[in-house]
């Protein structure tokens, strides 16, 4: 394999791995902040216990999220130096601002929050976790601002052989940013919520600490349902955005080769034949694609063949069709998980409201594996969005194939791919191991033995030292 392919695999794998932890961090930070707020205002010890218990997961997860994030920042320069030279002027800015405006906030206040429990006034300590939560969202905002530029480049001029920023506000007002950022953050809230729901359901099912976990699950169900609805709403906004800004991605996501009829039907499933450029055995839902694309029940959608011809005229010879099958199926998996999450959180809230949650063993059991569902949705959402952007690294400006570092050999990329995959795999396993351990232990605070009092040798040393 050549360096380009390996660099692409590395980017995809490290980004997807990093994005297992990020949404969970964002989601849990919010839930913990809510729990601690309830403690501070209701003065009920159980909420303090909740804060502490769920924060164990948060901290383990946060640590891995942070360290895998560092590589993301370096990777552009390492594997994609041509890209970095071309867009650094405008793409680098949000990354630098993320560090300055979000990372410092998160890293400082998480330290204050963990270590400052006994040193800070209660409300100041509460403010710390809220600042961490805001920090995680700000971080997402700047990353999405950078990423949105790749999909919908705005606020720049082409001069001196590169894209130079000429309108910072345009970068912040990027339409793609304002459909993608809320969608991603709400997806993250749902990820945190369904984690808490799943773990709590397991305990309630096992009849352990039922009161504790019923309160946890109720908070999480509310957050889960609200964010689920938000995901659907912002997802729809994404589709209408795609129609005019990245129509090729939309067409690929629909497996649509020829232009659709008017009104356009939405394809539930189909078998795609990339070689002959056809999709057969379609199951269609009438009107739906028109609605997704335009928010009304009429209007036709251009197919990939039409768009390919247009792009050849505009950008010259080349294949402008992204990997269709991946885009098509990722979209369906993503949207499907979103729908399921809304239904499941609504059922949960209904059961809880009717005071039937404890006895609904089927529901409780079912919610445990559902923990993984948001992660699947998140990952396929990214795959759809980024694969659907191909062959462009910056839509309409630079192709992925032209972005790679010319001076980095395939061997080097392979080496780093192997080392990072190994380390990431270990981190993943350690996290699962720790999570399972914490879940088995339950929410009872473990007291660390103070070894200092039982070590006479140490006491002698102490006296020595104070001489």
């Amino acid at each position: 394999m050549d360096a380009l392919m390996l660099a692409r695999i590395q980017f995809a794998s490290t980004t997807l791995f990093h994005f297992i932890f990020v949404p969970l961090s964002i989601g849990l930070a919010l839930l913990i902040a809510i729990m601690q707020t309830m403690y501070v205002f209701k003065k009920d010890e159980i909420y303090l216990k909740m804060t502490k218990f769920w924060s164990i997961f948060f901290l383990i997860n946060f640590a891995i999220g942070v360290v895998t994030g560092i590589f993301q920042e370096f990777q552009f320069g390492m594997n994609w130096s041509t890209y970095s030279r071309f867009v650094g002027d405008i793409f680098g800015a949000p990354l630098a601002l993320e560090a300055l405006l979000a990372f410092f906030l998160e890293a400082t206040f998480i330290g204050l929050w963990i270590f400052g429990r006994d040193k800070l006034p209660e409300k100041v300590h509460l403010a710390c976790i809220w600042l961490v939560s805001i920090g995680t969202m700000l971080s997402a905002f700047w990353i999405m601002a950078a990423n949105s530029f790749m999909h919908n480049p705005v606020g720049f001029v082409l001069q001196n052989g590169r894209a130079e920023m000429n309108d910072f506000l345009a970068l912040l007002k990027n339409e793609k940013l304002w459909v993608a950022f809320p969608h991603t953050v709400l997806g993250s809230f749902a990820t945190g919520a369904f984690f808490v729901i799943g773990v709590s359901a397991w305990y309630i099912y096992k009849k352990r600490d039922v009161d504790f976990f019923k309160r946890s699950i109720n908070i999480a169900l509310v957050v889960g349902l609200l964010s689920g609805l938000g995901i659907a709403f912002t997802g729809h906004a994404q589709a209408t955005y795609l129609m005019h800004a990245q129509p090729m991605k939309m067409a690929a996501a629909e497996g649509l080769w020829e232009d659709s009829g008017d009104p356009a039907a939405w394809t539930l499933v189909t078998s795609i034949d990339v070689e002959n450029k056809t999709s057969s055995n379609r199951i269609d839902i009438p009107y739906l694609l028109s609605y997704l694309a335009y928010g009304k029940f009429s209007g036709k959608v251009e197919g990939m063949n039409t768009l390919q011809e247009k792009y050849v005229l505009k950008y010259g010879d080349g294949n402008y069709v992204p990997p269709v099958k991946t885009t098509f199926w990722s979209f369906r998996i993503m949207a499907g998980t979103g729908g399921v999450l809304i239904v499941l959180s609504a059922i949960g809230l209904f059961l809880s409201f009717r005071k039937k949650l404890e006895t609904s063993t089927k529901y409780l059991k079912f919610m445990v594996p559902v923990i993984f569902l948001p992660f699947i949705g998140n990952s396929f959402g990214w795959i759809m969005s980024e694969i659907g952007r191909q062959p462009w690294v910056v839509n309409g400006l630079m192709k992925t194939a032209d972005a790679v570092s010319p001076n980095v050999s395939a061997g080097k990329v392979l080496f780093s791919l192997i080392t990072f995959s190994t380390i990431y795999l270990i981190l993943g396993l350690v996290m699962v191991y720790l999570f399972v351990r914490v879940i088995k232990q339950g929410p009872h605070e473990k007291v660390k033995e103070d070894v200092s009092t039982s070590d006479p040798f140490e006491t002698g040393e102490m006296q020595n030292a104070t001489k």
Binding site: G88, F103, L105, Q159, V408, N464, A465
Partner: protein, 337 residues
Amino acid sequence: MLLSELWFLLIGVLFVGFMFLEGFDFGVGMSTRFLAKNDLDRRMLIQTIGPTWAANEVWLVTAVGAMFAAFPHWYATLLSGYYMPVIVLLLALIARGVSFEFRDRVESEKWVKTWDWSIFIGSIFPPFILGLTFASLIKGLPIDADMNMYAGFFDIVNTYTVVGGLTFVALSYLHGLTFISLKTDGSLRTRARKEAQKWYAITGGLVFWFVILTVFYTEAFSAKGPILIPLYILVGILYGALMLLLRNKKEGFSFTVTGIILIMITASFFIALFPNVMISSLDIAHNITIYEAVSGDYSLRIMTIVAATMIPVVLGYTFWTYYVFRKRVSKKENLNY
């Protein structure tokens, strides 16, 4: 001053700040093996940096981010050129970062030991790689007319750069020791001071050797002598004074001095580099200057405005954090680790 020069200075300051702050964190990491006698010692040592090490690391992340935004060519040439050292640096930072969080999660000796090693290794490699990188940056690297760097192993790893790396490791350790004697109580406090006196000669020797090699291996002195010579003389004077401070148990001053030495040595690289960001060993015409590597003026202006507004805020809560955790870590308090 031009905006490009201001941003060169700012990135320099970020790296200098990183070496000052994370320098003692790395030193504390190393001390978990050299200084600690038992698990309680280790827990106390880690507790001294627990609340702040993560934020200190952000200085590096910000420096690299600012490099990307303000000097895309510097960022691209540097990171693609130093591919292997960067991988080692990142793996070390990853291992270190998670170990602090993981080490006390399972009560098993094997578990704790594994992550303690990971902290130790993760604390030695980053200063070494940074020293290696800074030294080879001012020595010059094979950079072609397209700004791409094609460095072989010995372009990056050679006597001069290895001494540079070791100097940073030793200085970080010494800085960590003065930090520990300032931040702990009891036997650790005394032992850290004694260990610092023990490492004093070795570290001083390395710094001296490195400065001598810099004269022979680089153009730094012929180009920037009038600034570098007084700077290094000052380092020498301060280093001499450090012995007295350590002997007289002036912990606050000792820490300040090891910090200033780290600051001055890190700053000397940026002084030597200016106005280049990368020096080519192939042809002086291939040197990349800050004026060639820089982003557009508009971009720099925007970032200057944001930085000018936000840096005081960041510094404000950073200082506040150190104020909150100003007390010495003693055995009496609840350790988080």
